[in-house]
Each structure stands twice: as structure tokens, then as C-alpha cells.
């Protein structure tokens, strides 16, 4: 036992962090660490402990540094935690910096040859002879690099008290049916575990203790949840263009479509998926397919939305349905393409030139990613307009535990579409006539037989009969009706979710900030500041939002961008309350954490 290992010795249990810690693993991108990290996360999850995982990866295929954090929380907090109790350092490039940044008292598992133990004296160092262990446990030298990471899973499991049976199960699950790979990886994990058993004393600084918090839960990412929502919503045309962090939404959809969207008799496909030449073309495909009666979608990120802007304005003005997923990343420009942000709020709220307003959905949980993706297709057809489902890299690509999704039993709403018989009965049909006085008109689909219902769609000025018009009164009537339609949407979009502790002080957030806000709300309450939390889930703002804004003395508006974009929308919508909104911001590319929210709100309160 080296000198520093003495710090591992039991402290008597009083200060043990049970099921309450963060582990950060530093590796090299492309070294296969993703599998090892997922296994460790899953094994802890299988111990009944709530965990979340965040991959901080570079925009690179292989070679650059990458970090993965696993947070376990007995209280169920799943936001990123700013401090880490355990570090696993496998990357020589970053090891020194990782040590410099480490929180005092952290346990540091590292690759022995890195010789990190002299760098600081307030950390507990655990050098592991990874190369020796991997050579002994794995007969195939060409696999050493890949399975080396599984050794730290074994070491960490032993240190934390994670049952080796759970690790083995997690490996089998992760590698599905690849029997040989399962065996090699299990052997490596066992080698790490056994080495730790022989060489490391017990410790009780940080422990995993079996719990029952994850019974019946799933682990999923938001892109998969959205893909499943679209699958059940019956999407039939997908036009897309690859971009991180949005690609895996369509890619996962493609896998599911292979299985669940083939005609059982003919083997033919009930969905057309086309990788287009760019996002402009993707937007064109979505809107024209929607115009022709299909349920259509695309998935992209900020740069793609920018390219689509002209088409999205056209979709709004000609009233063509379509679902646009924006899995947001850190902009502007290429920005930090593998980091998260909520900085496309204003872009998606008003995408395109001219006066435009769009329905936006902001899922904040995995169940909502699924449900809102499903609902988006109904909304698109009901309102005959582009619908944005705005998530971000944090929701879209990170690992989240969730309740399994409820079956969306609600039948599809295909909106106001007139078929041949209905058209035959209508006297004086006009494509843009507001017959029901809700701003939503009746449309017909190309190819409808019977000689009635054909019309000419144009992005230029038109009247209620879809005829070309430059008359001021026709133009104003059209854009005013579109505004009325947006008003109608208020009673169709998902309303907010409240977490009220009983206070005149409000906290307002949306999307992926939710877990950090919940944790911050509890921390603030512990130090004596109660708040009422409203989580916004859609644009336009519904009546409950009006009431919240009226009622609160102050509204802390938490968002992950520099400019307080959502606060801007609020100030614009509620000008007489403009001074109530105080921006709590986080925009460095990492997912928001509770501490930054607590610090900023506390500072406001002390003013």
C-alpha cells in the first residue's frame, strides 16, 4: 500500500456519501471507453440507484480528449454536478490538467505509468497497472486497447461496492448478442475487480448501496425518445441531412423503421427516408410532403435551421404542415458542435423573414420527448404549419433514466382536410377561408378526384381563394388570420408544469434545465428561500403562463444562452411586467448545474 492509499482507510462511516457522488472518466476519443462508461452507469442503475451520464466529447472521430461523468443521486437529482468525488484518468494528454482541476479529497484512479501521485497531496491516488492486467486477462493483443477500459469498471465497482454480477449483466446487455465480446469484456472487468480486491483496502468515503429507485425504469436518450414518438405518430416522409447532435434521431428512427414500418405481406416500406443534399432541400421535402398529405419530419441543429429559414417562412405563409426537430448545440456558426446550449430560442420562435410566429414544443424529460414528438404531428396537421420540437444535445444525446413511455392511445388528429365527398358538398370552397373563425382553414390534398378542390399554393400574396393578390386588404387579412391561428394554438399546446413551494418569487425554465432547477430550488429552500417553479413546455404562452407572470413579484428566468433569449420573448409578450424578469444564465457548453443557479439567484436576492 502506498502512502496515499492510507487515506482510503475507513473513517467510521459518518461522512460516507451513499449513492450520492459523481465520477468523471477522462479517456481518448475513439478508444472504446463509451462502452465501459455505459456499463458502469448501467451497473449502478441496476443496483437500484438513480444515475445520469453525460458525455463531454470533442468534435473529432478519434484521438482528442473526452470526458464522461456519471452522477448517482439518492435524492434523484440528475443534473450535472459541478464537483466530482471520483476521477478515472486514462488520458495522458489531460491527466495533469485533470489533477489540477480536481476537487479536494477526490479519489483518483489512474494508469500507473502516468505517475500522478506527486502532483497534489490533498487527493487519494490509486495507481492501477492497466497494461499488466489487460495482458493477463485478454489473449488477443489487438483487442487490448478496447478492453483496457473495462478494467477500470472492475476497479471502480470494487471500490464503490457495485455487485460484480450487475457489471456482468450490464456488459451482456450493452454488447447484446455478441457472445465472444461479452466474454472478453467480462473477463477484463473481473480482472480489475480482483486486482482491487487484493491490492486496495476498503474505503467508505463514497459507496453504492443497493436501493430500489430504478425498478421498472428505462435508460434512453432524447433522440431515441423523439424517434419513437415519430414512429408511433406514423411519420411517412423523412428528409434529413446529418449534423451533430441531431443525426442519431433519424438514424435511430431508421433502425426502428426497418423493423416496424414494413408492410408484412409485401416487405415494402410505409415510410420514405431520404438523406437530402442539405437542410434547405430537407425543409422543402418536409413541407411539400406535408402539403401533399403525408406526415413529414426532419431533424437538425441550429446551422440547419438557419439554412431552412426561407422555406420555414414559406411553410408558415402557405400553411403547409411539417415537424422540425432542432436538437440544439452551442452556436453561433460551428460554435462548439458537440456541446449543449439553448440558444436557438428566438431563431425557432420567429424563424424566417417577415412577420412569423411558430408553435414550439420544449420537452424537458424523456417521456415528454416521446409524447411531444407524437403530438407535434397532430399539431402540424391541425394548424397546417411548421412545428418545432426544440431539444438540445444534453437531452438528445445523453443517458437519462425514465419511466417507460405510456402508449399514445389518443387517435391521430389529421386536421381539416376535405375529401372528395366533402368537397362535393361544399358550396364556394376557398383554401384560405376562415370558415370556423379559428384562423384554421380547410385544405384539400393534391390528387383528390372529383374535379373540385384543386388550388394553387404560392408564397406570394394570396386571397381567401388562393388567387394571386397584391391588394393591401387581402394581405392584411391573411397575416391577421395567421395571428389568430397562433392564438387558437394556445388551447392546444402543452401547458406548463408547476413545482410550487409557496412563494411570490418565481423561477421559470424549460427543456434540459429542469433537473438543475429542481435541485437548485431545494437547495435554495434549505437556505431559506422558497420559490415557485414553472416549467414552460411550449410556444405560444398559455393562460397559466399569463397568470404566473401577473402573480409573481419576480421571475428568475433560467436558460442556457448568453442573451436571455426566452426572457426577451417574455418581455416582449408582457411589456408591462418587463422588469420582473431576471436572467439566470449558463452558456459555457456544459449542461447547466444547480450550483450556478443557486449562486446567481442568491446574488440577485442580496442586491
Amino acid at each position: 500500500m502506498t502512502a496515499s492509499l492510507a487515506a482510503l482507510a475507513p473513517t467510521g462511516g459518518a461522512k460516507t456519501r451513499i449513492n450520492d457522488f459523481s465520477i468523471q472518466v477522462a479517456t481518448v476519443n475513439g478508444s472504446g471507453s463509451q462502452t465501459a462508461n455505459s456499463v458502469l452507469l448501467r451497473a449502478i442503475f441496476q443496483m437500484g440507484v438513480l444515475v445520469s451520464g453525460k458525455n463531454l466529447f470533442p468534435s473529432n472521430i478519434a484521438g482528442l480528449p473526452t470526458w464522461f461523468t456519471i452522477r448517482a443521486s439518492a435524492k434523484g437529482y440528475v443534473a450535472r454536478k459541478a464537483s466530482n468525488e471520483i476521477l478515472i484518468l486514462m488520458n495522458p494528454e489531460t491527466a495533469k490538467e485533470d489533477i489540477a482541476n480536481a476537487d479536494a479529497k477526490a479519489l483518483v484512479i489512474y494508469d500507473e505509468p502516468l505517475q500522478l501521485d506527486k502532483l497534489r497531496d490533498d487527493l487519494t491516488f490509486i495507481p492501477v497497472p492497466f497494461q499488466k492486467l489487460v495482458t493477463a486477462s485478454c489473449p488477443e493483443p489487438k483487442l487490448h486497447k478496447l478492453v483496457k477500459n473495462m478494467i477500470y469498471v472492475g476497479v471502480a465497482s470494487r471500490l464503490l461496492g457495485v455487485d460484480m454480477e450487475e457489471v456482468k449483466k450490464a456488459i451482456a446487455k450493452q454488447l447484446k448478442s455478441k457472445a465472444k465480446a461479452v466474454e472478453i469484456n467480462q473477463n477484463a472487468a473481473i480482472a480489475g475487480y480482483d486486482w482491487a480486491m487484493e491490492n486496495l483496502p476498503d474505503q467508505d468515503h463514497v459507496k453504492v448501496v443497493r436501493d430500489n429507485k430504478t425498478q421498472g425504469l428505462i435508460i434512453v436518450d432524447g433522440n431515441e425518445a423523439c424517434a419513437l414518438g415519430a414512429l408511433f405518430a406514423g411519420v411517412t416522409v423523412v428528409g434529413w441531412y446529418p449534423i451533430t447532435p441531431a443525426s442519431s434521431l433519424v438514424e435511430t428512427f431508421i433502425e426502428y423503421a426497418e423493423e416496424y414500418r414494413k408492410d408484412p405481406k409485401t416487405g415494402k416500406s410505409t415510410v420514405a427516408i431520404v438523406q437530402m443534399e442539405d437542410e434547405l432541400a430537407s425543409a422543402g421535402v418536409v413541407l411539400s410532403a406535408g402539403w401533399a398529405g403525408a406526415r413529414a419530419m426532419t431533424s437538425t441543429s441550429g446551422p440547419g435551421i438557419s439554412l431552412m429559414s426561407e422555406f420555414i417562412g414559406m411553410g408558415y405563409y402557405v400553411e403547409a404542415p411539417g415537424v422540425f426537430f432542432n436538437v440544439a448545440r452551442t452556436g453561433p456558426s460551428t460554435g462548439l458542435p458537440t456541446r449543449t446550449q439553448q440558444a436557438d430560442v428566438e431563431l425557432c420562435a420567429k424563424c424566417s423573414h417577415g412577420d412569423t410566429q411558430h408553435i414550439n414544443l420544449y420537452p424537458g424529460t424523456m417521456e415528454e420527448c416521446f409524447q411531444f414528438a407524437y403530438d407535434a404531428f397532430d399539431l402540424a396537421e391541425r394548424f397546417q404549419t411548421p412545428i418545432f420540437v426544440v431539444t438540445d444535445l444534453d437531452l438528445g444525446m445523453q443517458n437519462w433514466s425514465s419511466k417507460p413511455f405510456d402508449y399514445p392511445a389518443k387517435p391521430y388528429d389529421r386536421g381539416k382536410v376535405l375529401n372528395q365527398q366533402q368537397l362535393a358538398q361544399v358550396q364556394d370552397w376557398g383554401r384560405y377561408k376562415d370558415v370556423d373563425d379559428d384562423g384554421i382553414c380547410y385544405r384539400s390534398l393534391p390528387g383528390t378526384p372529383g374535379g373540385k378542390g384543386a388550388y394553387f399554393t404560392r408564397g406570394s400574396g394570396h386571397n381567401a381563394y388562393a388567387q394571386y393578390s397584391e391588394k393591401p386588404e387581402d394581405y392584411v387579412a391573411t397575416v391577421d388570420r395567421l395571428k389568430k391561428k397562433f392564438e387558437t394554438a394556445k388551447s392546444h399546446v402543452p401547458g406548463p408544469v408547476f413545482r410550487n413551494l409557496g412563494s411570490a418569487k418565481g423561477v421559470l425554465a424549460f427543456g434540459s434545465s429542469d433537473p438543475a432547477v429542481i435541485e437548485a430550488q431545494d437547495l435554495l429552500a434549505q437556505s431559506g428561500l422558497k420559490t415557485d417553479y414553472l416549467r414552460l413546455r411550449a410556444l405560444p404562452f398559455t393562460a397559466e403562463i399569463d397568470a404566473f407572470v401577473m402573480e409573481k413579484k419576480v421571475v428568475y428566468l433560467v436558460e442556457q444562452n448568453r442573451d436571455g433569449q426566452m426572457a426577451n420573448l417574455f418581455r416582449e409578450t408582457y411589456p408591462e411586467h418587463a422588469t420582473k424578469f431576471k436572467s439566470v444564465l449558463h452558456y459555457d457548453g456544459y449542461a447547466i448545474d444547480a450550483k450556478c443557479i443557486v449562486d446567481q439567484i442568491t446574488a440577485f436576492e442580496q442586491k
Binding site: 416500406s269 420514405a272 421535402v285 411539400s288 403525408a294 370552397w429
Partner: protein, 348 residues
């Protein structure tokens, strides 16, 4: 909306019982004498003569004088005048949503060869089932006469400006991209255009028609290489064409001898009687060579430049169900609760 005109009792009808008036659209608002209007007239004629079911027609366009024309024909069909240069993606989405549609895209040389070049190239590459018409006048008509990318090198604008750059030729480009039906026509040769349009209606994939269509307002002066006079003087029709729709094949006799016959999968036939030496429109490389040689001489080789009758269009490549995707209902699209359960189990 009702049809603009009704049949007079004496007007001849086609096999569907429609008169030619049933194929017209709204009144054109283009300049009198604009080549684009002659093309509109031939689309109306060809659709009438080909017994096209108007309700199945979807018309797409970008932005430009040319892109306005879908409003001027086939009011029985649906139209989508979209944004500048993006007509091909509009045709792509709608044709995938409903594979029963008869798709006609109208674009300009500016719309397709500059801002929309990417979409043109990829629509052709994917073989979208559509007639893709480029109404080619060498200028941007709607923005008042700037050069387009098809303008000939050294040609002059009305104000004297000279085009220093070489032109892009939509036809050789389309052949290069694997297009299975490529033709060049002249709006001033209605007979040839009519026959080619009828053949185009019978074709299953992308048909690229580059139709030289003089802009009388901005590009019809003496120093222009797209004026009526210049094009008439330099038009070299390749062949006399005849088109016989599959339903009429039995009744029409094709003369033996000089005539080459290309048969479409549905049985329709194009009869080609060569004028220009021994041009073979099924020979891709030969076609490329002949077009390049004629362009070097400043001629417009017109007619059916290249044909491959069996090139599979995108809905076939994607192996889509026969029923239009837009008509599929919830029972065909929404997986069962058991499926969701199975997926949830796999994520536990």
C-alpha cells in the same frame, strides 16, 4: 375554385371526355410574345392529347417569370409555386407522399442553373418522377435582365454588358448525372415540343427538358444568342419525332426503314426518324459528343438527346408501398401497444 372555362358543345374531346379548355389555367401575365407562353400552350395541348387526368397533376415551380407559368395551365391540378431555386425538393417531397401524382416542374435557367443548381443535380440523380422543364432565356427575366449561367460566352445584354464566362449546359449535365430522358427544344418549334412533351408524360422518371425560350423584353436584341431570330437560324433539329401512347400502339403503324423505335415499359413508343446524320439517342456517350460538337459550332441541337426507358425512379428504389403514403391511415402506421412494450423492455 372552378375551372376557368367550360366546354362549348362543338369542341372536340379526348378519351376522358375533356376538351382542351379543361386543360387551361388562369390568364398569363407575362409580356406579350414571351417564349414561356408558347411552352404553356404546348403543355396544354400535350396534356389534352395524352388524356392526362387533371386531378392527378401536381405542378411545382421556383421563382421567376418561368416559375409563374404553372398558374397558366391545368387548373384541374394542384400547384405549388415555392421559393427561388428549390422547386426540385418540393417535387421530391410531394412525389414521395403520393406516388400517383403526375408531376410537372417548371423552372428557369436562373432558378435551376444558379441558386438551385444543387437541387437540380440531386433531383436528377435521385430520378424523381417528374417532367423538369427549364424555360431557358439566358437571363433573369423577373429581375430585369441580368445574365444567367446559361448565357453564351461573349453574348451581350441590351445595355451592352458582355458575358465573360462559359455557359452551363443543363442537357449534358443531366446526361452526366444519369438522367434517362433528356431533350432540348425551342419554344418557337411547337410541333417538336408537343411530341416530346407527350413522350415525357409517358416516362416514369425524371425528364429534363431544356426549352430555349426567348425573353422578348430583355434578351431578344440583335447581339443576343437567345433571340428568336438567332435561335431559329441556329436550331438543328436532330430528327422527326412521333410519339404513340401505349393505348394507341395497336392502331398506329410505324413506318419501316429509317425510323428507330424506343419502347417504354408501359408499351408507349417514340418513333425517331433521323435528320442529323446517324444520331442515336440511346447512346449516352455518343449523345454527349454530338452535343459538345454542336455547341462548339454555336448550334442548338434540338430533339430527344438521350433516352433510357428503364431507369427506376426514386419511389421504386425506396421500395415504397403501392398505396400513396399520404393515404395510409393510423391502423397502417401506428405500431401496437405490444410493440411499445417490447421496445421499453429492451431499454430496461
Amino acid at each position: 375554385m372552378t375551372l376557368t372555362t367550360t366546354a362549348t358543345p362543338s369542341a372536340p374531346t379526348n378519351k376522358l371526355g375533356f376538351t382542351k379548355q379543361d386543360y387551361v389555367g388562369s390568364k398569363s401575365t407575362l409580356c406579350a410574345g414571351c417564349g414561356h407562353d408558347s411552352i404553356t400552350a404546348q403543355i396544354i395541348n400535350a396534356a389534352f392529347e395524352s388524356n392526362i387526368e387533371g386531378y392527378r397533376v401536381a405542378k411545382y415551380s421556383g421563382i421567376g417569370c418561368s416559375s409563374k407559368t404553372p398558374a397558366y395551365f391545368l387548373n384541374q391540378g394542384w400547384g405549388f409555386n415555392s421559393v427561388h431555386g428549390r422547386m426540385p425538393s418540393i417535387a421530391t417531397g410531394a412525389s414521395l407522399a403520393n406516388r400517383n401524382l403526375i408531376n410537372i416542374g417548371v423552372s428557369g435557367d436562373g432558378d435551376s442553373m444558379s441558386i438551385g443548381m444543387g437541387q437540380f443535380v440531386h433531383a436528377v440523380r435521385r430520378n424523381i418522377p417528374m417532367i423538369y422543364i427549364i424555360e431557358d432565356n439566358g437571363v433573369y427575366g423577373l429581375t430585369k435582365g441580368q445574365f444567367s449561367a446559361t448565357a453564351d460566352q461573349g453574348s451581350h445584354l441590351k445595355n451592352g454588358a458582355v458575358n465573360d464566362l462559359p455557359p452551363i449546359d443543363p442537357c449534358t449535365l443531366a446526361i452526366e448525372l444519369g438522367c434517362g430522358f433528356v431533350a432540348r427544344c425551342f419554344s418557337g418549334n411547337p410541333k417538336q415540343l408537343n411530341t416530346i412533351l407527350k413522350a415525357a408524360f409517358a416516362y416514369k422518371g425524371t425528364v429534363v427538358l431544356d426549352i430555349i425560350s426567348p425573353c422578348v423584353t430583355f434578351n431578344n436584341h440583335d447581339a443576343s444568342t437567345r433571340s428568336y431570330k438567332h435561335v431559329k437560324d441556329h436550331d438543328f433539329p436532330l430528327h422527326d419525332l412521333g410519339f404513340i401512347q401505349y393505348s394507341e400502339v395497336e392502331d398506329v403503324e410505324i413506318p419501316a426503314g429509317q425510323t428507330e423505335v424506343v419502347t417504354f415499359p408501359d408499351g408507349s413508343k417514340v418513333a425517331i426518324k433521323a435528320i442529323h446524320e446517324d444520331y442515336d439517342p440511346t447512346d449516352r456517350f455518343g449523345a454527349m459528343k454530338a452535343i459538345h460538337e454542336s455547341m462548339a459550332k454555336g448550334e442548338f441541337l434540338t430533339g430527344l438527346l438521350y433516352i433510357n426507358p428503364t431507369h427506376p425512379p426514386l419511389p421504386e428504389v425506396l421500395n415504397l408501398v403501392d398505396e400513396p403514403l399520404a393515404s395510409l391511415g393510423e391502423s397502417q402506421l401506428k405500431p401496437s401497444a405490444a410493440v411499445l412494450d417490447e421496445i421499453m423492455q429492451s431499454l430496461m
